[in-house]
Symmetry: C2
DNA sequence: GGGTATTCTATTATTCCTCTAGGGACGGGG
DNA sequence: CCCCGTCCCTAGAGGAATAATAGAATACCC
């Protein structure tokens, strides 16, 4: 789970798309102008979003992009993961063997923290953003950070 | 609030420092070797941490770095913000005038989401990481994302 | 069928971030 | 005073993020 401008641009564009999704496909040129994001960059981002089945495209005049499913079924993580591939911050390639063959304590810490942020963002969907309110209830249940759960805590790709 | 390897390395190093902080200053060379982070990179990170009063330094032989305050008073956000200066994901320099003089809807959305992540990470402190468990209780209370609160929702520097 | 709007793909340039390299400043011990 | 361990600073290489450009493919409309 990386959190950079790239993911933010993608979410911004997706919010724009979701707010006008009801009236047919939305063109990237329109999103580019409204959100002030360069068209060619948007093309790159939406290429990834399409490959990850977050959006669908319609070519030709009158074409553009649509959400691949209802906005309430698209979470922020879906978007961010689609454009911003997960990042390994460890120095042993997530092998957990950087410290004398044992996983460093920090590995487990990061995996746990990572998972919590992940779950939090998974709990916010596009529709909520469009409605102008983030998630308030906490069904992204707090996760007790168990050590040595190993790789199960890693972020899904 | 950016979330990159840089911040993670800093937190990793700080956990290392906190676990051995009781016995005098800790050298960067030691952290470098234990955590497999390049020494000169650590020097940069700790330079920023020092300027943000997260750590204190002692020069000369026997010197090193200490926590500037108890580990329970240092939150993850303190560390991340110190090394990873906040980033403006808007295209109008957070002026809120990119869309016909009015703030884009996405600005408020981002500020709100930003604030929630911020608060979540602010609720986890170093001591908890050292003890091997993240925060379970949710006193990083969920924040209703109010639109048009404007700049008050921005991440403090 | 030709014209045009649009997605799609590729190549390249530019700017920014990450990380490395090397030298300088300070301070304690002989 | 000299030596060495440590923090401290700056510059730059390398790579990733962002942007520009060019063109190909597709599909609507006349």
């Amino acid at each position: 789970m990386r959190l950079t401008t790239k993911g933010r641009f993608a979410v911004t564009a997706m919010v724009d798309l979701a707010t006008r999704g009801g009236r047919g496909p939305v063109t990237l040129a329109g999103i580019s102008e409204r959100q002030k994001i360069s068209l060619s960059y948007l093309e790159q981002l939406f290429g990834k979003l399409r490959k990850n089945n977050v959006v669908a495209s319609v070519r030709g005049p009158g074409g553009g992009y649509c959400l691949a499913r209802p906005a309430s079924k698209i979470s922020i993580v879906d978007i961010i993961i689609a454009v911003d591939e997960p990042l390994d911050a460890t120095n042993c390639g997530a092998q957990g063997n950087c410290c004398d063959g044992k996983p460093c304590l920090t590995h487990d810490l990061w995996f746990g923290l990572n998972e919590k942020i992940h779950e939090y963002l998974a709990g916010v969907n596009l529709q909520q953003l469009v409605d102008g309110q983030a998630k308030n209830n906490s069904d992204a249940a707090p996760v007790t950070m168990t050590k040595s759960t190993g790789k199960s805590a890693h972020v899904p790709a």
